[in-house]
């Protein structure tokens, strides 16, 4: 009965803490918006084209580039393009050389396009790769066609048929796939980062973890006011009280996860993954609340732990396969098991162990740090 009243009063208090509640509110709003409207967002990179060539092939090249799903091509004259680049409105400008068509018709593919890029965006690498691919595609078609014409005489109809066939071949999916296979470890370990990264639920998971951590301000306040000291003087442990007071944060974060999971097309199993993840977060809350003496240190350490969890587990960005030791270290981060859940892979036992680890670490830190002792200023 007493526990219930502590829980309920803390629940009410959590709902009144506007500062921290705003974290979870924004997380819910943004994640729901991402789940509903995410696919409609225009995330293409802008690349500005300056066409210095008057031939037909440069026009064909631009048309092909305009079909690239990751790019938005704008055609400008040189002055305008440089101005846009200087103002930081585009990560790259490419100049189709005046001899573009001539070189391709002569079978050359060197220096067809001039490329100016800046380092402050990822867009230029995407554009460079697409430009190279499309140039080589046109070059290959022209080269084979001109070679063919030197060998045999083709009617106009046959030439058209050849180019139509080329369009069909290049328009089809690439049939060759190169697949890395790790020896001495499970292959799925390598690809698990791809599944849920970037999704609304993954982003919510990152922010919810931070919300639970930052919610441990009550531990700092209680310690300063000497509540834990008084409890321990009576010969009882403060741990159950701290856990009861932390539970509302987990429940609020979990309640926020429910609509996001279902809007993202998730299922009930994912709810379990989220529950384990957030309970692990409660362990993190105990840990941080025990070692931090004020809000400033709590913000800093919450950022380190929540950010580390987001990056290392792969929730924020998929870690490349070659990250070596991190592929092992990530197993102790709760995000790894949430990500497995989001990717439809088995997560339960690993997640359970991970949650137990974090809870134990939290309780142990709390006991070792002497929560009942009042910190001197």
């Amino acid at each position: 009965m007493r526990g219930q009243s502590i829980f309920l009063s803390r629940f009410r208090a959590v709902l009144c803490e506007v500062s921290s509640l705003l974290v979870i509110f924004l997380a819910i709003v943004c994640s729901i918006a991402l789940a509903i409207r995410g696919k409609e967002l225009d995330t293409r990179y802008l690349a500005v084209a300056v066409n210095e060539d008057e031939g037909v092939l440069s026009e064909e090249f631009l048309k092909l580039l305009e079909k690239e799903p990751s790019l938005r091509i704008e055609r400008k004259d040189a002055g305008e393009a440089i101005a846009l680049f200087r103002q930081g409105r585009t990560p790259c400008v490419f100049f189709i050389r005046s001899d573009f068509t001539e070189k391709l018709e002569n079978g050359s593919y060197e220096d067809l396009v001039g490329f100016r890029n800046s380092q402050d965006s990822l867009g230029d690498t995407v554009a460079a790769e697409a430009i190279i691919n499309e140039c080589l595609r046109i070059w290959a078609e022209e080269y084979i066609a001109s070679d063919l014409e030197t060998m045999v005489s083709l009617s106009e109809e046959e030439k058209q048929e050849f180019h139509k066939e080329a369009e069909r071949i290049f328009g089809e999916e690439v049939s060759v796939r190169v697949e890395p296979k790790a020896l001495g470890s499970t292959a799925d370990e390598l690809s698990e980062g791809d599944g849920g990264s970037g999704s609304a639920a993954a982003w919510y998971g990152i922010l919810a973890f931070f919300y639970v951590f930052i919610g441990s301000t009550y531990m700092i306040r209680n310690r300063k006011s000497g509540i834990y000291q008084r409890i321990e003087q009576k010969g009882t442990s403060a741990v159950p009280l701290v856990l009861l007071q932390g539970l509302p944060l987990v429940l609020i974060a979990f309640a926020g996860a429910v609509p996001i999971i279902f809007l993202s097309g998730g299922n009930a199993a994912l709810l379990l993954a989220f529950a384990l993840y957030l309970i692990a977060g409660l362990g993190g809350l105990l840990l941080l609340g025990s070692v931090c003496g004020n809000l400033l240190s709590l913000v800093f350490l919450s950022l380190v732990v929540a950010g580390g969890n987001a990056v290392i587990s792969g929730l924020m960005v998929s870690l490349p396969a070659w990250t070596g030791a991190w592929n092992v270290i990530r197993l102790i981060f709760p995000g790894t098991w949430l990500l497995r859940g989001l990717s439809g892979e088995p997560f339960f036992f690993g997640g359970l162990l991970c949650t137990a680890f974090w809870m134990c670490a939290g309780i142990l830190t709390m006991i070792l740090s002497g929560m009942g002792k009042r910190r001197s200023k």
Partner: protein
């Protein structure tokens, strides 16, 4: 109190608090260390590594044999190691387990047939985890190579059929087709030449660490300024309440805080830069504008956080405001691309401090495009000017008004 004594006093208060400084510098330290440890294996590979890789070629077609030879000896791959033919998959895997081979490329039976008929076909690359990085390079190279090359080969075959229909002798036809295959292959292994670059297979396909490093530097130097905000909020509540200040004193206090705060942020750069440089991510190609860029950055972040601290009555509230502003800067300045924003809004977002900071730092460290620097300096100077003016004004008002 003279300004210099005031400044010295303020630096002692801010930097003298060991725990605060430790926290402010620990976060950037951990962040850069994490970043470096994740990317280091791939990065160091660019400078040349030597691996022994086996090739199991189960495809009997001559062309594939020749292609494998050319691929192994291509500039792109030969700089990473040496190729060895392996009779079968089992032997290859055993050689990997014994440590005789670092990785194994497996070309399946009927590869050529599948390529020509555009049926799905998979080349497998087996590797022990310690060689995951090299595998990534090989996988990327092979994938780039086959994306356009595979399709071009199908077109060569189509042209070959046309020649046959037109009665070209078989020998001449095959010779011509073979010549075309090689030319197509050479084009793929030197694909950077399209842009006039002398590069490997996929010049753009590597991890763009320059950008990520700029992002890490920007975000974590901003976080390093948080203690400035905390102390300023506390001052507003405690010191300013104790005594009235004349305008001049308040302004002196403000600038002393601005400079001491800047010094703390500068310390975060002093922590982050050596780690990145030590790991080889920065190789001393700094533009002359680098130092002014860093100084302007630290001034901007320090003035921003002082200004934010003046909006709150309690240090904890100030911290929350700064936290939300920082998150907003990251979301709108980094995560959401311009193209996703309505026209007009994207222009406003370009003035969010974090964006010109990333641009300035990456472009001055790697000195790729000086043309961008002027505009970024302008944006950051305007931001700094606004935050400083508003901060000084509020500092004076709060100092006098209590």
């Amino acid at each position: 109190m003279r300004f210099l004594s005031l400044l010295r006093f303020d630096i002692k208060r801010l930097i003298g608090n060991g725990r605060v400084v430790l926290l402010a510098l620990l976060v950037p330290f951990v962040a850069v260390l994490l970043f470096v440890s994740i990317l280091l294996p791939a990065f160091s590979a660019k400078d040349g590594i030597s691996i022994a890789y086996g090739i199991v070629n189960e495809e009997e077609h001559d062309l594939v044999h020749q292609m494998v030879n050319l691929f192994s000896n291509s500039e792109a791959i030969s700089q990473y190691g040496e190729a060895y033919p392996v009779s079968d998959l089992e032997t290859g895997v055993e050689a990997i387990n014994d440590g005789d081979l670092d990785l194994l490329i497996h070309i399946p039976e009927d590869f050529y047939g599948a390529l020509m008929e555009q049926r799905p076909v998979t080349i497998e690359v087996y590797y022990p985890k310690k060689h995951a990085m090299e595998t990534d390079i090989i996988v990327k190279s092979l994938q780039s190579c086959f994306s356009i090359y595979g399709q071009s080969e199908v077109l060569v075959a189509y042209a070959g059929d046309l020649m046959k229909q037109k009665g070209i002798p078989e020998e001449t036809r095959l010779e011509k087709m073979s010549e075309e295959y090689w030319d197509l292959f050479y084009a793929q292994v030197g694909r950077g030449k399209v842009l006039g670059w002398d590069t490997v297979l996929s010049p753009a396909g590597f991890v763009k660490y320059e950008y990520y490093l700029g992002v890490v530097f920007s975000i974590f130097s901003l976080f390093a300024a948080f203690p400035v905000l905390y102390l300023t909020s506390a001052d507003m509540r405690e010191r300013f309440r104790m005594r009235r200040l004349c305008s001049r004193q308040a302004i002196s206090f403000y600038f002393a805080r601005l400079l001491s705060g800047s010094l703390l942020v500068l310390c975060s750069f002093a922590v982050m830069l050596p780690i990145a440089a030590g790991a080889g991510f920065i190789k001393g190609i700094f533009s002359p504008a680098f130092l002014p860029a860093v100084l302007l950055t630290v001034l901007c972040f320090s003035s921003l956080l002082i200004f934010l601290s003046l909006l709150a009555k309690e240090p904890d509230h100030g911290l929350w405001i700064a936290f939300y502003v920082t998150v907003g800067c990251i979301v709108f300045g980094i995560l959401i691309p311009d193209s996703a924003m309505p026209s007009g809004v994207d222009e406003i977002l370009r003035w969010i401090p974090i964006r010109p900071v990333i641009s300035l730092l990456t472009n001055t460290i790697y000195s790729s495009e000086d043309i961008r620097i002027g505009q970024d300096f302008l944006r950051l100077s305007v931001d700094t000017g606004i935050f400083t003016a508003l901060g000084a004004l509020l500092y004076r008002r709060k100092g006098e008004g209590i």
